[in-house]
Amino acid sequence: MTAALLVEDLHVADAKGTPLLRGASLQARPGVPLTVLGETGSGKSLVLLAVLGALPPGLQAQGRVALAGTEMLVAPPQARRRLWGRTVSVLPQEPFLALDPTMRALSQVAETYRLVRGFPRPRAQAEAEARLRELGLEGTGTRFPFQLSGGMAQRLALAILRAADTPVLLADEPTKGLDAPRRDEAARRLRDEAERGRAVVTVTHDVAVARALGGDVLILREGAVVEHGPAAQVLASPSHAYSRALLAAEPSRWTRPARPPSPSGPPVMEAVALRKSLGGRPLLREVSLTLRPGELVAVLGSSGSGKTTLGDLLLGLMRTDGGEVRRLPGVAPWRFTKLWQDPPAAFVPHQRLRQGLDVLSRRHGIPFARFGSGMERLGLAPALLDRLPAEISGGELQRFALLRALSLDPVFLFADEPTSRLDPLTQATVAPMLREAARSKGAAVLLVTHDPDLADALADRVLRLHEGRLASAGCHPGGPLGL
C-alpha cells in the first residue's frame, strides 16, 4: 500500500534564512497511526502545516511533500485547497483561535457535515450532536466558544476533525488539557480512525498518548528526525540519546522534592465560601481556600469543572456570586498574576515579543537583561524576540508567558495548565521554576493541571475540584491519587 502522505527531506527557513526544518522526512500509511513526538519548537506543527499546504507566508520550503498524489509545495493554491476537508483535515494546535467566536459549538461541527459532506440538515445536526456526545460535550452545542472551558474547546476542535472523515487526519496536540479518561478516550477515537483505514498523524507531548495510539512513532528535534520506528520499539527501547532522555522525562518519573517546611506567615490569598454560577448553572457551590507564602497547591478536576473560573474569581477578573476573596494587603496588584490556559490569548497579536517585554520592563522597572537570563533558562532563543506571537511555536509562547509572569515577582501565581504545550523534557526543566518561585521567592502558587503525576511531583498539597467543591485529593508525598 502506498503512503497517503509523504514528506521527503523537507527544509523550511524563515524570511531571514534561519532554518526551521532541516531535512525532515516521514510518511504515513492508511491504517497505521503516526505519532510525532519531539522537543517544543522542533518543527512539528510546521510539518503538519506543510502537509496541509498551508505554511505561513514568508517561510520558504524545499524538499517534497506529497499528499494523495499532489505535490503540496508546488501545487497552485486551488489545487491544494481542493484537498482540504476532502482528502485531509486538521486539528490546529490552538483551538481557541481556530473556533469562530461568533458561532455556536454545534454549528461549527455540523457545517462540515452539511457543506463539505453534503448531508441534509437534520442528519448533519444529528451527526454533529453524536460527535459532541462522544467527547462528553452533550448540552454544550448552543454555546459560543467563549462560554467553553479550555478543555471543552479542545474537544470541540477534535469533534470537528472527526466530522471531516477524510483519508488523512492531522492532529496537533489533540489531548492537551484533558484529564486522563478523556485523553484516553480521544486517543482511542483517533486509533479507531486509523483502523478504519485513515492515515492519522498526531503530534503530542504525552507519551501515554503515543503508547495508546500505537502504530509508528517519530521523534523530532531541532528540525530533524532523530528516530523513527514502530511505537512499541521506539517507546520501549529508544536508540537515540535524545529519545531516551525525552521518554525518561515523563513527570511520573520525576524525583519528588523533599517535604517542604510547613508554610507560615499571613495568607497571601484567602477565599471563603465562594459561589459562582455561569450560564445559569451553579459551577462553584462553596469553595474555600487559603494559600500562604511559599506554598504550591495543585488543583485537579475534570474539564469544565470550574478551575479556570476559580482562578479568575481569586484574581478579581470575574465577580463572585457570593463569598469573599481576601488578598494580602499592601501588595501591588500586578504581583497577583496568572498564566493563561491558552497562551496566545494573552499576547497582543500585533506586538512583537521584544516590544511586549520591553514595555513590561519599562512599566515595572525590570532590567531587560533579566529577561535574557530567564529566556536562557527556559531554552528560548533570542531570535524569537523579533517575531509576533503567531510566529513562534505553542510551547515557546507558553514559556514566554511564564517568563513574563515570573518577572513580576508574583506573591500569588495562578498557573493554569502552565506546561500543557511542552514536551516532557522541557517540562522537567520548566516546572521546577514554579516550585522555585514558591520556595525561594515566597510566592503562593495555585497550579491547575490534568496531569496527576505533575501535580504529585510539584505540589505541596493537591486539591480536587468536584461538583463545585474543593476537596483534598490525597496527601503529599506519593500517595495514589486515584482519579
Binding site: L315, L317, A332, P333, W334, F336, T337, K338, W340, D342, A345, A346, F347, V348, P349, H350, Q351, V359, L360, R363, H364, L388, A390, R404, L408
Partner: protein
Amino acid sequence: MSGARGLGAALLLLLGGLALLGPSLLPDPALQDLRSALQPPGTTWWLGTDHLGRSVLARAAHALRFSLTLAATAVGIAVLLGTGLGLLAASLGGLADRALAALGDATLALPGLLLVMVVVAFAPGEILPLSGGVALAQWVHFFRVARAEARRVLALPHAEAARVLGFGPDYVLRRLVLPELRPILLTLVGFGLGTAVLQVAALSFVGVGVRPPTPELGSMTTELLPYLPEAPVQALVPAVLVAMLVLGFQLLSADEGQKP
C-alpha cells in the same frame, strides 16, 4: 501595496504643494472679467474661467488651501474629541458610558446646521468657527466607532492580560485599542475630510458658509454646476480635487487594515 501608499503620499504632497505655493504664484482669485466668463481651458486660463470670469486655477489653488485647512482642523478636532470620549466611555463603562452616549445622541439630534449657525454667528465666514461647527457635527461619528471598537477589544483576553500585568488604562487604550482602531479611523478620517469640505459646501448652499469672494472647493462646484453643460472642466475641477484629497488618505491607509 506599498506602491499605493506611495501614490497616496504623492497625491497629498501634490495637493499640499498646490495649496501652499499656488496662491503666491497665481493671480488674484477674486479678479473678475465678466466679458471672459466661462472661457474654456486654454493657454490664458489653464483651467478656464468661471461664471464671473475668474481664473479657475487660481481659485482652485486658494480654495484648496482654505478647504484643506478647514477640513483638517475640523476633522482633527472631531477625531481627538470623538475618539477621546469614545475610549473614555468604553473604559469607564456604567453610568459615565451611558451619559456620554446620551450626549452623543443629543448632539446628533440637534440639527447640525443649527450648531454650525450658532458657532458661525460669532464670526461669519471665518475658518475657525466653521471648522468648529463642522467638528461639532462630526465628532459623534468618531465617538461611536471608537466606543464600539474599544468595547470589543477591552473584552478580549489579551486586554485582560495587560491589566493583570499591571498596565494602566492609558497603556491598554493606546497600545491595544488604538492599533485596532487605526485602520477604520483612517478610513473615516479620509472620508471625513471630504465630508467636511462638502458640509461647508452645503452650508454655502443654504447661505451660511464662507463669504464671497473666498474660494472654497465645495461651493465652487455648487456655483458652477448650472454651467456644467457649457463648462464641464471648470465645474468638475473642485470635485476632482476633493476626490484626490480623499483618495490620498484612503491610499495612505491602504494596508493598515491588514493586521499581521
